[in-house]
Amino acid sequence: MCTGCALLCDDIEVETEGDKVTVVHAACRKGVARMKGCSEPLECTVDAEGADMDTAIAKAASILRDAKNPLIFGHGNSSSEAQKISIGLARKTGAYIDDTSSFCQGPIVEAILQERLRTCTLDDVRHKADVIVFWGADPSNSHPRHLSRYSYFPRGKERQRGWEEDRKAITIDIRKSETAIICKDERFYQLPAGGDAEFMAALTNALSGKVPKTSFDLDSKRILGLSNIMKKAKFGAIFVGLGLVYSLEELDPLFALMDKLNEFSDFHLIPMVGQYNMRGFNHNLFAETGYINRLKFDGDSKELAHGPENSVVEVLRNKNIDAALIIGSDPLSSLPLSIARHLADIPLITIDPCNNLTTSRSAVTIPCALGGVESGGTAIRMDGVEVELKKIFDSDRLSDQEILKRITEAI
């Protein structure tokens, strides 16, 4: 199983020598780099000095114990088992808990879990989908095998004649991405930045038989053409990328479009989740609390606070936290610098297989096994399907699950 992204490809074979992966079959370029491991593995340190695991865990526990308002963040690159322990740790320490979905696909996954948006599996897409829409998404760069494994090129039960006859793939984006190029010009709709909601409303109008107009003068015949293709779809799938998520201020236009589409056809939506188990975190937290992210536990009572003010971004902006535990994530790289800066001012604990900007600023760094290679567990694919990760070989490094368990016990 490849943990390079949330496609979680399960058809990978590897050749190994000792504890090194030497050759990887079938995985994409990015997946191979993930499975072969990074060139700068993380060392176990306390205050930038080499330390043994017990010392690092004791120090991590004392930081979290002393903190009034700790943050536990990351989780996209952790197994579901590790995520559940992390949620328990947050409960125990009265922490804020959040994950990368908070500034990525969170709203879409939430709407799916609340059954506000209809979804399906990637296998359904392969077997049935005849109209596929990539909206604000460029899987050729973010999820390289998406089109070949599921969404465009493969044959499936009801799609036996190949992509040229059996499927229509449409891209809607603000730039002509590599995905747009292979889906061909006539199926590419270029929008101005922030024009998605308006285009969505125009498309919804076209589906209702009204003339679709946009302030950016997209040819209304082309929008009508698209609405006709979508109306006639036997099984449609819309893949929502970050381009769309960031462009929409609220999801209502998307709900309206999906509802309208489903008056005529059978349309489904799948979020283009990036990290391999981001969706798993959303599911696991939802099962325990009814919320997918952005939570604050209150140590003494059973109270929970939820909402944007508890998101990783807002607690950092407002400097609400006095310590942080980061698991399998590099917020100093992935968040705006002006927001992430606060992290460098507070005691940080990071658990990761590799060195990154965040680990370089951490009081405690604890190396963990690489998920899917050196440790196993379960994870949830971008389409909500649970899969089993098998480890390829044993390693000296503990899994993040084990490390989190030991920190919890030490508190």
């Binding site: 990015k30 002509k176 930045a193 902006r317 590099d330 705006p336 927001i339 590799c354």
Partner: protein, 134 residues
């Protein structure tokens, strides 16, 4: 590095759109601190018209500035067949994140993919290293 030296060069305001690139992502898996990751990240892709407005050549460095920060990156042609003056593209990376505004309107979601910068030639200056960013 003093910024006085750039004062004479023309500057323009551009909208930046960020995107993802599989080669840069691959380099990130190997090392955040590697040369490949910097080469593939610290880049801004410009329209030909904007390149000539800046009186720079492809491959030279430019300084990008806004209320959030400043960073020196390499200028390249975007290669898109359709002209897009006023819009530039950057791969999502710590370099683009220097420039993403802090303001979120309380939503918890920064405008990662859509912000404005002032661009000016930084001829002769080298690209900001990842360790200098923070």
């Amino acid at each position: 590095m003093g910024f006085g030296q750039f004062l004479a060069a023309p500057e323009i305001k551009l909208k930046v759109v960020t995107y993802r690139d599989v080669f840069q992502n691959t380099a990130q898996e190997s090392s955040r601190f590697g040369e490949d990751y910097e080469t593939l990240s610290a880049v801004i892709r410009l329209d030909l018209k904007d390149i000539s407005k800046l009186s720079i050549k492809e491959g030279e460095t430019v300084i990008l500035r806004n209320g959030s920060g400043k960073v020196v990156v390499q200028a390249q042609k975007s290669g898109y067949e359709q002209a897009h003056p006023g819009i530039a593209y950057m791969v999502n990376s710590p370099w683009s994140n220097v420039l993403v505004p802090e303001d979120t309107g309380g939503t918890g979601v920064p405008k990662f993919k859509d912000f404005e910068v002032t661009v000016q030639s930084a001829r002769g200056a080298s690209v900001t290293g990842i360790k200098e960013i923070f």
